[in-house]
């Protein structure tokens, strides 16, 4: 059984947000919901300023608080380490939202639309698409998302986008089970993201972890995240988010 994890090299990341984009296309996440989110930080005063980035998927914690508080068992930890949400069992209690120190869970307040970004079936869209993709339609309606996955055979790929339930990054379980890497990893133009088996010493994640000092986010919560960060370009505590979440300090 592999022990899947992710390594994110902050020295390589250029903050382009291709990871966010790839995630949206692959998982067709509703408007304003980002399973992968890239924070942009700024510190210092002009002209001595410094900018840094932090891609933040779900941490797929080994000691996941969200799994512990879920009242229905909809949120569970798979043998390979993926923290999954069974869309059929979620009752929308939002306890995971409350317990997660990383803010990775999103609640669907409204019924998501089937397709937010463009109605590909409209003739005007088809025309606009032609010169860009030679007519190929992006997989906004990925049928894999509605299938059941894993030995438990549960609906965990996020196709359950619907009002009243919580969703989050799945590490692209529908790709991982086919031997592919998550969409964000594949899309990163500078290979800042890497995914693989942390137990396999020859895997790219293990090699990268050996080559550099690593850290994980908010270790003080004892969550034991499976996402490791390497590189020195880490935001200091004085850093300001360039686009600020509600309620954060300047």
């Amino acid at each position: 059984m592999p022990r899947y994890g992710m390594v994110i090299d902050l020295d390589r990341c250029v903050g382009c947000r291709a990871c966010m984009e790839a995630c949206k296309v692959e998982n067709n996440t509703p408007q304003a919901i980002f399973w992968m989110y890239l924070f942009r930080f700024e510190e210092g005063e002009f002209p001595a300023t410094r900018i840094s980035f932090l891609p933040r998927p779900c941490m797929h914690c080994d000691n996941a608080p969200c799994v512990k508080v879920c009242p229905t068992g909809a949120r569970y930890k798979r043998d390979d380490g993926l923290v999954a949400t069974n869309a059929d069992a979620c009752i929308g209690s939002r306890y995971c939202v409350a317990a997660c120190p990383y803010g990775v869970n999103s609640f669907n307040w409204k019924e998501p639309k089937a397709n937010y970004y463009l109605d590909w079936s409209a003739p005007s869209a088809a025309q606009a698409l032609k010169p860009v993709t030679a007519g190929a339609v992006p997989p906004y309606d990925n049928p894999d998302l509605d299938r059941k996955w894993g030995k438990e055979q549960r609906k965990i790929a996020g196709g359950g986008h619907r009002q009243g339930i919580v969703e989050k990054c799945t590490f692209c379980v529908q790709r991982v089970e086919k031997g592919l890497k998550p969409a964000c990893v594949t899309a990163c133009p500078v290979s800042a993201l890497e995914f693989g088996d942390l137990d396999d010493p020859a895997s790219a994640v293990s090699r990268r972890l050996r080559s550099d000092r690593s850290f994980r986010l908010r270790e003080d919560f004892g969550t034991e995240p499976r996402v490791h960060y390497i590189g020195a370009a880490r935001a200091g505590t004085g850093a300001r988010e360039i686009e600020q979440p509600k309620g954060a300090t300047a």
């Binding site: 919901i33 608080p65 799994v67 512990k68 409350a98 120190p101 919560f221 988010e241 509600k246 309620g247």
Partner: protein, 131 residues
């Protein structure tokens, strides 16, 4: 005597939750709170069956109505940058009615190694009994 809200929040963050909870509990006449915690878990104190974050649902009924925590013990005006929750800017996960963001360090005061259920402690998810 009631401790001012800001001090209460600070005390909680500092891990001196017992002092605060005792004073909170005294106000609503339930004491000591570890017993209360167990009674809630065993269903001996009625906190309703609605699992949710709404103020009339279990989460707030437990922490606010039953344990007597003030809103400001958890909801702050702002969260210091050192305690970022890494939530997404549109804040889609928080209802507009919320009195303010919640610094998750507050929860650790009670939810690491008891008497409240293990949320951030060393117990593995598989060891925590599902309801």
């Amino acid at each position: 005597m009631s401790i001012p809200r800001a001090a209460q929040a600070l005390l909680l963050i500092g891990g001196l939750f017992a002092v605060v909870a005792a004073s909170g509990a005294a106000e609503v006449g339930v004491t000591p709170w570890p017993t209360t915690a167990e009674q809630i878990r065993k269903g001996k104190i009625d906190v309703g069956k609605k699992y949710g974050m709404g103020t009339d649902q279990r989460f707030h009924r437990i922490h606010e109505s039953t344990l007597g925590l003030e809103c400001a013990a958890c909801h702050a005006d702002r969260i210091p940058a050192s305690a970022r929750t890494f939530s997404v800017p549109p804040a889609v996960d928080v209802s507009q009615a919320s009195p303010g963001p919640v610094d998750r360090r507050v929860c650790q005061g009670c939810h690491v190694g008891g008497p409240a259920r293990d949320v951030y402690g060393s117990q593995r998810p598989s060891e925590v009994k599902q309801r």
